[in-house]
Amino acid sequence: MNKLQIILSGILKNNPTFVLVLGMCPTLGTTTSAANGMGMGLATMAVLIMSNLVISLVKNIIPDKVRIPAFIVIIASFVTIIQMLMQAFVPALYASLGVFIPLIVVNCIILGRAEAFASKNGAFDSILDGIGIGLGFTASLTVIGAVREILGSGAIFGISLGSADYMPLVFVLAPGGFLTLGYLMVLFNKLAKK
């Protein structure tokens, strides 16, 4: 696979949300607005790139039997670092994402890519994979968040579209999350088949 294909596959062929169906918890929980979805996607992408890089660098010195604990420690440290940086420099986003930021540690995407890619490939390729999957995740979350925000709150990225009182609130609640995700997944896979 050439370098550009690694990135593109993370966005299309191996889209973590609509194809791999990983990281569903933050997907449903943080997509109540486009800005939250994008912020969550970017935070996850940052952790993914860094953990992929470090794991691909140390993959040869980690004994096979302790590789999962080792990966988890590395991932958790990066999540803690990202959490502190967010709390210091983007406190508003930090407050609205709340508990979902530390939950990035248990996001299946990160451990999944560590196992499937970073532990078997070189450093540069692992970074590209992190970027690709990260962009795919961010794009999916932003789109789902935008749909739910427009349909549920009558706004987009916080800018009101003037119809806030007439929109079906269900879209910012749990049922709406599942509905939006389901329909977008069908749409994505139909379009991707072409």
């Binding site: 004994p63 502190m84 210091a88």
Partner: protein, 218 residues
């Protein structure tokens, strides 16, 4: 690397040492910006409910086993207002916390909702501009409202606070928090010890003999 006991232990030790060092370094770098951001948020919360001020002094009161903080705000040495950070445990979706601003004469300047987890579209309206709860108290002296047992209450409970449509529990929690703020404010201004705030109408489970269903106990 082979998975011998020595290798596994050594590698895990090494990784955790490096990881904790990394986290420690970032902690040192971000400690100050985090403190500054929290301070800025606090100042912003106070500015929203008070007239112009340049210094504040915080006093903490304990009412109904909750810590209520009263910020006495002064401008050039003169007291210009009191901001009370108050809370209620009776929100529909959990505790709510408000910042209530009073003038020295007892008039409510503004109420800002700090934290709430109420039902979207119903209880969350308490944080909206010009909602019925806010307009029932903003710019008014609480002593001039219709009081039930000396406390504010929603219309359903005999008072004259306009509750939110279809969100009675959230509205009652809001009023409960304001009552607590009023109690704390009075105790700072008059120097009297605060008594319990009645008006907790949430059901308590039968097997909690200690729980009070509201009612003054002092």
């Amino acid at each position: 690397m082979k998975s011998t006991l020595f290798n596994m232990t050594a590698v895990l030790l090494g990784i955790t040492l490096v990881a904790s060092a990394g986290v420690g370094v970032v902690n040192m770098i971000t400690a100050e910006p985090i403190a500054a951001a929290e301070q800025a948020a606090k100042t912003e919360a106070l500015t929203r409910v008070l007239p112009q001020f340049d210094t504040t002094e915080a006093t903490t009161k304990t009412i109904d086993e909750m810590l209520i903080t009263v910020y006495t705000a002064s401008q050039s040495g003169q007291t210009v207002g009191y901001a009370v950070e108050t809370m209620s445990k009776n929100g529909f979706g959990g505790p709510i916390s408000l910042m209530v601003g009073f003038t020295p004469e007892g008039e409510v300047v503004n109420v800002n909702v700090l934290k709430q987890t109420e039902t979207p579209g119903l209880g969350t309206k308490m944080a909206d501009e010009g909602n019925s709860l806010l307009s029932s108290v903003k710019g008014q002296k609480l002593t001039e409202k219709k009081l039930v047992n000396g406390m504010l209450a929603v219309k359903k409970d005999g008072g004259d606070i306009d509750a939110l449509t279809a969100a009675t529990i959230s509205s009652r929690a809001y009023v409960d928090a304001i009552n607590r703020a009023w109690m704390a404010y009075k105790s700072v201004v008059d120097g009297v010890a605060p008594s319990a705030v009645s008006g907790a109408t949430k059901q308590v489970p039968a097997n909690e003999p200690e729980a009070q269903k509201g009612g003054k106990n002092e």
